[in-house]
Amino acid sequence: MSSMMHAGAPHDQYVPEDPALGTTIMAAAFDGGVILGADSRTSAGSYIANRVSDKVTYLTDSIYCCRSGSAADTQAIADICRMYTSMHSVQCGERPRVQTAANLLNLLAYNNKDHLMAGMIVAGWDPVDGGSVYSIPVGGGIFKQDWTIGGSGSGFIYGYCDAHWKASMTKQECLQFVRTAVSLAMSRDGSSGGVIRTVVIDSEGVTREMITDKDLPFRT
């Protein structure tokens, strides 16, 4: 993609890469809420521009999103979605629903698909639907699921997640599921690494955690 942006440069000239979130991201619903998880590597080619990035991004007090793809694109999308969601919530006089934020994000992703490289996950808790997880892949489309994974690292853990996910997990079981899955992906995907950030959202509120090298369930 960045090679397209620099078409016409001589083949031995240095061509900078756009910062990308190589990434492993995921979100899963448990009994009473959701957990979002992500690695923390932002790469620009083979250079790790940020080894402690925060890919789990605030949209509202009880809705967060995971970002994968172009760092710039996903930050812009999250910013605009945050604004529209908050405006809508003020107009309605209601707490924003996860469904609303996800649909707004999908409109941005789909209508601007020619100019974006962004694969995102929206998850959170609202009083109407409880905990919800929505996947909005590259190019748009919105898919409500019990759990979803994304980013370049996700390909390595589909088998693990399919085998180990179960319905109505407790918060602790779900946290273990997310951490182990992200850790496995980080150990195999060169574009994922660093720390594992998790965000737990339920009716009580939001809890952010980070686990670093020696606490990772799986290490390279």
Binding site: H88, T100, N106, V128
Partner: protein, 258 residues
């Protein structure tokens, strides 16, 4: 309280010395002279009824509709200028459709009422247009809040009510509605009660009328639809008889009292 506002009533852009916008009030007159429209929030939905005055014997029965479905879960009953009302119903349908496309869920009652009210209000702020000569009763099965009845008037204000009436017979209808609100009726029961209200307030000396009714709630699976003919017909007949009995009772009392 009616007065003319000579000199201050030529357009919406003028206030009268006592702070009134006469054009908006005159638009309200179009509503007051219209056939009665009533709505009632029930335990399991919302029912609306219209006294549709039939202006010509040549009209096909059921035509000249005054109640419109604007979304799966919402409908609008119109009092006042028919053509204006139709335009507003189309506007409402557009709002509901846009909302769903943008936000992914059904339009909330408050949001729809505020948008319609805002739209109507816009026409009261320019001298080059006229206000809508309508009051709208908006019945909604809100996804999170349940059955709601919103009312928008020509000034553009929209409020939520448990029951409301506009049009010729509104005073009497409101008195009857206040009693019904306390009874927490279901939609099925309300169909008969609203039919009775319309038959009661209808002025026998004016043109004949057709009863048009809609409901949204449990009996219709959460969708705004016309009350089915096999329920509306008997309710219409029963209401007509009940009102005829009441008035013949009154006649008897009159004879005895000499």
């Amino acid at each position: 309280m009616s007065s003319i506002g000579t000199g201050y009533d030529l357009s919406c852009t003028s206030y009268s010395p006592d702070g009134r916008i006469f054009q908006v009030e005159y638009a309200g007159k179009a509503v007051e002279n219209s056939g009665t429209v009533v709505g009632l929030v029930c335990t399991d939905g919302v029912v609306m009824a219209v006294e549709k005055l039939v202006l010509s014997k040549l009209l096909v029965k059921g035509t000249n509709r005054r109640i419109f479905t604007v979304a799966d879960h919402a409908g609008i009953a119109v009092a006042g200028v028919a053509a204006d009302g139709r335009a507003l119903a189309n506007q409402a349908a557009g709002e509901a459709s846009d909302y769903k496309s943008t936000y992914g869920s059904s339009i909330p009652g408050q949001y729809l009422a505020d948008r319609l009210g805002g739209y109507m209000h816009a026409f009261t702020t320019y001298g080059s247009v006229r206000p809508f000569g309508n009051a709208l009763l908006i019945s909604v099965m809100d996804e999170t809040k349940g059955p709601q009845l919103w009312v928008a008037d020509p000034s553009g204000t929209a409020n939520s009510y448990r029951g409301f009436a506009v049009g010729k017979g509104k005073q009497h209808a409101k008195v009857m509605l206040e009693k019904l609100v306390a009874q927490n009726l279901t939609c099925e029961a309300a169909v008969l009660e609203l039919a009775k209200i319309i038959h009661t307030v209808h002025d026998e000396t004016s043109k004949p009328f057709e009863l048009e009714m809609s409901w949204v709630g449990t009996p219709s699976g959460g969708k705004h639809v016309r009350v089915p003919a096999d329920i509306l017909g008997p309710a219409d007949d029963a209401a007509r008889e009940a009102v005829a009995e009441d008035s013949s009772d009154e006649d008897d009392e009159g004879e005895e009292a000499d």
